[in-house]
């Protein structure tokens, strides 16, 4: 049994312009200790997928319109708020892009790590302190004992993201969801944080979902990759396979439009047009209006996800011809 089994998940938002489906028919599984990359641009639905799994979307306006989220065999979409609270922490934990807004500015970082542990485990003050200190040391906060008393504003962006990881991992979750964890960080700090996440996975054996728009971050970390576009999964593959033989024209475009450090290119291979407005998505394949291979049949119906090789699926009716 997979640790996480998401099937046909659809999350809708009530808006002034009617109900908008932020994600539609999203299905994937994740095993213990596995790292799944979810790649997409703005409006692809990657963050909504994560927040739906975490049960962190305000309902209303959000609503799980269809599908299920089996975590360790139990359907999270049927859980009450209190049961979800018990899952968040020891079951599933999350780190966000902007560590400054995720930390409380008026509490010390030591207090914030201890608070998370206290919410789930009955420990003496001394044991709480020891566990919090241990976590801060594990994530590489220098002179952690002294930094326990620091406030978030006294730390750099990279150190704050380390503290967020310490909080997320304090209750030893089985699944960590990291939503653009290095996007706000400089490249030398990004490399440190990605290394750290891989080290922590090796040590604790938790599964990780890493959400990013950066193909390089996926190449560095993921075992398997989902590519999302305009609310739907368009391709799924083991990571090496995706980079070697991308099937969907959108995935190909994403890989091609990033300038390479190794080779010189006369001109970048741009994807024409812009991302569709969620309220006015094109009929049929949502990428069809930007796709250089589109034919009239592409706008007729949503292409289903089809398996082309074991573990490699794509939603494009022209894959076999391209």
């Amino acid at each position: 049994m997979s640790l996480l089994d998401v099937s046909n998940l659809t999350t809708a938002f009530a808006t002034a312009r009617g109900e908008i489906r932020a994600i539609e028919d999203v299905s994937f599984t994740l095993d213990e200790g596995e790292i799944l990359g979810i790649v997409g641009e703005s409006g692809s639905g990657k963050s909504v997928t994560a927040l739906t799994i975490m049960g962190l979307l305000p309902q209303p306006p959000a609503r799980v319109a269809a599908g299920s989220i089996l975590f360790a065999g139990e359907d999270l979409t049927r859980f009450s708020d209190t049961r979800m609270q018990r899952i968040r922490g020891p079951g599933i934990a999350m780190v966000f892009q902007e560590p400054m807004t995720s930390l409380n500015p008026v509490f010390t970082i030591g207090e914030q790590v201890m608070e998370t542990i206290r919410a789930h485990e009955r420990l003496s003050q001394r044991a709480l302190y020891a566990r919090a200190l241990e976590m801060l040391e594990k994530v590489g906060i220098p002179s952690a004992a002294r930094r326990m008393g620091d406030y978030p504003h006294q730390l750099s962006g990279g150190q704050r993201q380390r503290v967020m990881l310490a909080i997320a991992l304090a209750c030893r979750p089985r699944l960590l969801i990291a939503d653009e964890p290095t996007t706000a960080l400089d490249v030398t700090i990004q490399a440190q944080i990605l290394d750290l996440m891989m080290d922590l996975r090796d040590e604790f054996g938790m599964a990780i979902i890493i959400i990013t728009h950066n193909m390089g971050v996926v190449a560095e970390t993921a075992d398997r990759v989902l590519v999302m576009y305009a609310g739907r999964i368009v391709e799924e593959a083991p990571v090496a396979r995706l980079f070697d033989r991308p099937l969907h024209p959108y995935t190909r475009g994403l890989l091609a439009c990033v300038p390479s450090l190794e080779q010189d290119q006369e001109r970048l291979a741009a994807i024409r047009g812009t991302l569709p407005d969620p309220a006015h998505r094109p009929p049929g394949c949502r990428f069809s209006q930007r796709c250089q291979y589109a034919v009239s049949a592409c706008s007729a119906a949503l292409p289903p996800l089809e398996a082309f090789d074991p573990g490699h699926t794509a939603a494009c009716i022209r894959v076999s011809e391209l």
Partner: protein, 321 residues
């Protein structure tokens, strides 16, 4: 070749309030500290570095969007640090800037036509309607865009409006300050291609500021690397990426995520430890010595001089000297 822009001894200090209520004092934040730089006509000079290194401040100094604390900047034959306001206005037609944030850089209450025509009005030109139409077509926007407002456009389209505004006065030199960083990846390439097309068509000279080393390598002829207010290395792009001499440049290139999972860097590339120090209290000697894997005693005491180990390749490091 005579440079289009030449800066020497350029310094910019910002006064920052520091200390508590009782011990309040003013400290100079050395955003740009003794920088010398030449930009050649028709080239793209890339400027890279991490947040807080002073790259945006340097870009703004070079077109005198902000005044320098010390140093001179020769632009097109005149020292723009010494010009009167009237003389500067005339020179300013020749130097423009494209900003990072296409959402914040456009006035939401102005129509696209008014945004693009505003620089012309400031410079006392009339009959701007045709010029605006010409600019829209130049940056790949439909003519009907003129009556619309910034919020009706996507990020990439807004950046096109920002480019049209920057080019309407036919400048020679354009500072591009992270022009694609806020855009989605699939849209970034469109804007990079557009900037390159416009450069070719109009003979523009660019200072291209970015933190993405791949984009900078693609678009630049030469690349300068900044760290804590100093340029630590500058060279032809192929030379810089193939043979970086400064340990900071080496670390920056090593930190770029792999292009393929088979080339994963974890455990194989040396990582920089620690964070960028505060520009309020820059380290003594070489400013990179607190993070440098090759640090020597001399690095803590003495600031390294700029040397030129190969023609056009300059570096400020005791190891390279």
């Amino acid at each position: 070749m005579t440079p289009l822009v030449e800066a020497a001894g350029l310094v910019k200090h910002f006064d920052v309030q520091a200390g508590g209520l009782l011990k309040r004092r003013t400290l100079p934040l050395r955003a740009v500290d003794d920088v010398a730089l030449r930009v050649l006509p028709g080239e793209t000079l890339g400027l890279v570095g991490e947040s807080g290194c002073g790259k945006s401040t340097l870009g703004r100094l070079l077109i005198r969007l902000i005044p320098a604390t010390a140093g001179n900047i020769i632009f097109d034959g005149a020292d723009i640090t010494r010009l009167t306001a009237g003389e500067l206005r005339e020179k300013r037609r020749g130097m423009q800037i494209i900003f990072q944030d296409p959402y914040g850089a456009l006035n939401p209450r102005m129509s696209v036509e008014d945004i693009i025509a505003e620089p012309l009005h400031i410079h006392g030109e009339r009959g701007t309607r045709d010029t605006v139409a010409e600019m829209l077509s130049l940056v790949g926007l439909p003519a009907r865009a003129r009556e619309r407002f910034p919020h009706e456009f996507s990020g990439g389209q807004r950046q096109r409006i920002g480019i049209a505004r920057a080019l309407v006065l036919h400048p020679k030199f354009v500072v591009c300050d992270e022009p694609v960083s806020a855009l989605d990846v699939s849209v970034q390439a469109q804007i990079v291609n557009l900037l390159q097309d416009l450069q070719r068509e109009l003979g523009l000279t660019y200072l291209f500021i970015a933190h993405d080393l791949g984009v900078v390598k693609h678009i630049s002829n030469r690349v300068a690397v900044m760290y804590l207010g100093k340029i630590v290395e500058i060279a032809d792009k192929h030379r810089l990426y193939a043979n970086p001499l400064h340990p900071y440049t080496q670390a920056l290139i090593a930190a770029v995520p792999a292009a393929h999972p088979a080339a994963r860097s974890r455990g194989r590339r040396q990582r920089l430890a620690g964070d960028i120090p505060s520009a309020l209290h820059p380290p003594t000697g070489c400013r990179f010595h607190t993070r440098c894997p090759h640090v020597m005693p001399v690095c803590r005491e003495q600031e390294p001089a700029v040397t030129e180990p190969a023609p056009g390749h300059q570096v400020a490091c005791h190891l390279a000297g």
